[in-house]
């Protein structure tokens, strides 16, 4: 028997109130432990896809099954329990800037605490020790008492990774994690993301602009265009023709 997919999406649709059809029926199975990269130009629906999975956006139609549970429609306590298992990494890092680095990692524990004790910041000793450990792992142990906005972009994104891992996430959704970073920082962040999720056996879906990074790290690559999947395959199957189809004739959009 084959392994069950950790995430199974069928005919996922999302139409925004202004009429934009961001997703026009996306179907995809993600296997446990996979490092999946989605490529496609801006506006292709990559971000919307990730946000529908953890219900930051409410999907308009289709079915999402996570770990054998139908999560197409969840709310309240069930949604909280789902979200804590799904780590999210954002293009703009989205650290709470006025909190310390370590507390930003600890925010990953909020899903496991009551709303009140979370609001008061009553993290357990184990949580604190784990947060320090995670920061050391992404090379930021020394920075833990600094305010988050004193870190560089690349450092902030590494804190973002630590926050997602602190959730004990089984699936990490990374939305353009390196789009705002310079090449060197991009390298570091992608390497950490790949390494940490491999070590912890965490499934990862990463949206990327940059095809070269996708080829370097992905187990499988998904091409998204105008809200539909137009390509699924191994990195070596991504030919120039595939890229042209995804990004249009102009090659210059590729290495944006």
């Amino acid at each position: 028997m084959s392994v069950q997919p950790i995430l199974s999406v069928t005919e996922l649709k999302k139409t925004f109130p202004d009429g934009t059809r961001a997703l026009r029926g996306v179907s995809l199975d993600v296997m446990p432990g996979e490092f999946l990269v989605m490529i496609g130009s801006s506006g292709a629906g990559k971000s919307t896809f990730l946000r529908c999975i953890n219900h930051l956006f409410e999907p308009t139609g289709g079915r999402i099954v996570y770990d054998g549970r139908d999560i197409s429609k969840v709310s309240g306590a069930k949604l909280r329990r789902l979200r804590r298992e799904l780590g999210m990494i954002f293009q703009g890092y989205n650290l709470v800037k006025r909190l310390s680095t370590i507390e930003n990692v600890l925010l990953g524990r909020l899903g496991y605490m009551s709303s009140i004790s979370g609001a008061l910041g009553l993290y357990t000793k184990q949580d604190r020790e784990r947060a320090v450990e995670l920061l050391i792992r992404v090379g930021l142990g020394e920075q833990r008492f600094k305010r988050a906005d004193q870190l560089s972009g690349g450092q902030q994104q590494r804190v973002g990774i630590a926050r997602a891992i602190a959730q004990n996430a089984r699936l990490v959704l990374a939305d353009e994690p390196i789009a705002s970073l310079d090449p060197k920082a991009s390298d570091t962040v992608m390497s950490y993301l790949h390494e940490v999720t491999r070590e912890e056996n965490i499934t990862c879906i990463v949206n990327l602009h940059q095809v070269d990074y996708a080829k370097r790290f992905a187990d499988r690559i998904i091409g998204l265009k105008d809200g539909e999947i137009t390509f699924i395959g191994k990195p070596e199957e991504v030919t120039d023709k595939v890229i042209r189809d995804l990004y249009g004739e102009k090659g210059d959009q590729v290495d944006e």
Partner: protein
């Protein structure tokens, strides 16, 4: 072709000039009508000049500095009123500010109610609140404190809500995505971003309350304003002058202190 453009712009210029003339004419008429309505006459103002000079030099000045100690108590009372009033406003406005902010309010109807409450409390000036409250709870600083608290809360609800609406939605989204409960999202995602403007607005309100405290005092709601109005009513203008100096000094001092505090806290 270019003739057409010239003709068109010329007509436009004439039209603009005509509108400008109409507006100036309108303003002039309005000034004359309101002057007539309020019985304003240059002649009276002119004839009043000797009176004004006499009042200033003989009645009001020099201030009778020997009574300065008499205003020490009322000054402290004014500060206490302002502080307690600010405290009331902040306690009342902090939760309502969250409910009135579009991006964090749980339901649109709650937001509307919170905003309406703010408008109601804010549009009634402190002195009107004070007049009402003096007749309810009697003359004294208690009425003044509540008056300041109510009108201040109105302003703070709106200021807090506007500041909360300006914060970075991404940071809230990230906290929400961890599975945090609503209250935890507020305290960890919203409050850290909001706290500088919270401090800033609250201090500013304290600043304004010092001025308002002097005004509400005039209708009997305690503090320096009450001492001032008493002195005027007893025709002790030289003592009133000392009260005015006290008010002036107090306002400047508090403004200095709050500015320093704001610089340190933010």
């Amino acid at each position: 072709m270019s003739d057409g453009v010239l003709e068109y712009t010329r007509k436009n210029a004439i039209r603009r000039r005509r509108i400008a003339r109409l507006i100036i004419f309108g303003f002039t008429v309005a000034v004359l009508v309101s002057a007539h309505g309020t019985g304003f006459r240059i002649r009276d103002l002119y004839r009043g000049i000797p009176n004004i000079i006499q009042f200033l030099t003989e009645d009001l000045l020099p201030p009778r500095f020997s009574v300065w100690r008499r205003f020490l108590g009322p000054t402290l009372e004014t500060i206490a009123m302002s502080y307690a009033g600010t405290f009331l406003s902040v306690v009342f406005a902090a939760p309502l500010g969250f409910l009135a902010a579009r991006n964090v309010s749980p339901y649109p109807i709650v937001m509307q109610i919170a905003r309406a409450t703010a408008v109601f409390m804010r549009t009634i000036p402190p002195i009107v609140w004070a007049l009402l409250l003096v007749s309810i709870v009697g003359i004294g600083p208690f009425a003044g404190t509540i008056a300041l608290g109510l009108s201040g809360a109105g302003m703070l609800i709106k200021s807090y809500a506007d500041s909360i609406e300006d914060i970075d939605a991404g940071q809230i989204e990230a906290v929400r995505a961890t599975g945090a409960g609503t209250f935890a999202v507020m305290m960890k995602g919203v409050v850290p971003q909001f706290s500088p403007s919270f401090v800033s607005w609250s201090l500013y309100r304290f600043d304004l309350n010092i001025r308002s405290a002097a005004v509400v005092g005039l209708v009997g709601a305690g503090g320096l304003g009450f001492s001032l109005s008493t002195a005027v009513r007893l025709f002790r203008y030289q003592e009133a002058a000392v009260a005015i100096l006290w008010i002036l000094g107090l306002i400047l001092a508090i403004e200095f202190v709050t500015a320093k505090l704001r610089g340190h806290l933010i």
